[in-house]
Symmetry: C2
Subunit: 346 residues, 2 copies
């Protein structure tokens, strides 16, 4: 049996047997320290990503500076998805000998620019020869263990809050791969979608607002709320399905509330819906919170002038994810993981 | 300019501009924590390695289980080289779709077996498609900041202590690449050298003995001694040269005290010397310590039945590394980095 036949989820399940229980399943791992190294008010969070030329980036769609930015942003987004803030990262680079030095330096500049904006610094790395350009990033962050966000903590009745638009990154990729598609678009739309693809923003602003909100709640003697969440790196549908699977619940999403950029809907019609659900790489947050907290968070995000967020649905006991049109113009759909991006499929 | 023309050292120098000063140069990085996350008696150490099929391993020389063991052992050896003990590691895997599932599972079994012996567990990872099998490992350890071993701390007059034999790993590789070379060898020699290549041992036993020794010294009111060191992953000559460069000193090595396995010397004659100095991947420790501490450590390692260690020379003020024959049969050689392994040379 090879891994293409087994599939990514199947292989992940096999490999979990080699890891401590509970360690795999979130966007990042919370480290259990041995004797003498416990941290009272802060736990260490770690996450790692491998990025491969022609799989995760290419000269055709991603200039070197954006390769570095995206690689770091993707890892920082995993920290944000755990409610953590960044401390440091390591960078492993595998490069063919004919790689231009300027390309490597621009990748580093992109990484450093992203870290300068969101926090953390490069503390180590490795440099090796490889037939294909490869980046291996490991990022560390810290979080108050009482405020850690996990996939497994969604509760029936929670509102599902999604930050930002979904599908814009996939649209940007389309315009980069097929520039002729963008010829008749408004430059402001075209540039926004390309920017979404090349320079994603990890949503620490949302984590910050949520932290303030929960601190107020906690000080009003209601205690900390348990929040479930993850980032939407593999698409909005994947995020909701993963959250539901980890929490053994289901979800009802409202077709009319899907976070699609109106210009995207107008320009790409049905493809906009597909990209919103399955496009991936928007690196936004998908959170499950008590409805009152979700509404407070929406209000606070508007207050601080953050880019939008939407309540797209709610958590239900029946363990499936339904996409429902409240106006009953569209039939109810059941979303499945298999429709999403499969890493070993091609 | 491409990176092959610039060379590994040149590229490393360019990339240091993007990292905080003092962070690059050791086998691993000691993490500086922001406010509220300082650890009083324990600092966090992090190290990362990228391993690529046909560059760092191949089916011809390394069964899957040994690929996993070596990858983890190399990272743990970097922790040992800082005086740290292991906590955890992350594993990024880049794999072609036709990779057998059994290969992946055996790699993981090798990693887990190495961790079971030396400490630490797998706490996270990433699984992606890649045209070439790639492993990205990041390991975390802890060390008492007062006892951290750095490359830059060698003092003129220090003894240079080397653990284990050097060149055995390179000899094992030779036997794996050219089995006909080993036909007339004693199986015990052949197996030992192949074992050295496939299953290297990170030298936490030496770190443990050194820690006990320094604790006794400190309690006798002499205070902690500052120890310089690194592992010999890129060869013995490279380790001594790197230590001297980082500490702005030189070294005198005794030709007659080079740690060459007598059977290796007997079997491979002149190649044994070359492999000892430049073979690499023995993952032993090269330490610079006050002569008295070096002799105490030698005595203690014999006491606990550890595999051998040798004092191969001393640190001198003149910033070059000399290989001297005290019996003056061989002319003095000046060792240089360029003779060692160059990652982008081929």
């Amino acid at each position: 049996v090879n891994i293409k036949e087994l599939g990514e989820q199947g292989l992940l399940q096999r490999l979990q047997a080699f890891c401590p229980p509970g360690m795999i399943g979130d966007d990042a791992a919370m480290l259990a320290f041995p004797q003498g190294l416990e941290l009272p008010e802060s736990s260490l969070i770690v996450t790692t990503d491998l990025l491969v030329d022609q799989v995760h980036f290419s000269d055709r769609t991603t200039p070197a500076h954006a390769v570095g930015w995206r690689a770091v942003a993707a890892n920082l987004s995993d920290l944000a998805a755990m409610g953590a803030t960044p401390i440091a990262l390591t960078v492993g680079l595998g490069l063919p000998g004919d790689t231009p030095v300027a390309w490597v330096e621009q990748v580093y500049q992109g990484m450093v620019d992203c870290l300068a904006k969101f926090g953390g610094q490069i503390v180590g790395g490795d440099l090796v020869r490889s037939p294909v350009r490869t980046l291996a990033i490991t990022a560390f962050g810290q979080v108050d263990p009482a405020a850690v966000i996990r996939r497994s903590q969604a509760q029936v009745g929670d509102a599902i809050l999604v930050t930002g638009y979904h599908g814009n990154s996939r649209a940007g990729l389309e315009l980069l791969l097929h520039p002729e598609v963008g010829q008749h678009l408004l430059p402001v739309d075209r540039d926004r979608w390309i920017q979404s693809h090349q320079y994603p923003i990890p949503r620490f602003d949302v984590i910050h607002s949520l932290g303030q909100l929960l601190a107020i709640g906690a000080s009003a003697c209601q205690g900390w709320q348990t929040i479930a969440g993850m980032d939407s790196s593999d698409g909005l549908a994947d995020a909701v399905l993963q959250l539901c699977r980890a929490s053994r619940v289901g979800a009802e999403l409202s077709y009319r509330h899907l976070p699609i950029d109106p210009a995207l809907q107008h320009t790409f019609a049905n493809r906009a819906l597909e990209w919103c659900l399955y496009g991936g790489e928007d690196f936004e947050l998908v959170l499950c919170l008590p409805p009152r907290v979700a509404h407070d968070l929406l209000a606070r995000l508007i207050e601080v002038g953050s880019t939008g967020a939407t309540i797209v649905g709610k958590v239900i006991p029946d363990p499936q994810v339904l996409l429902i049109d409240t106006q009953q113009q569209w039939p109810t759909q059941i979303l499945r993981l298999e429709q999403g991006f499969q890493h070993f499929a091609t």
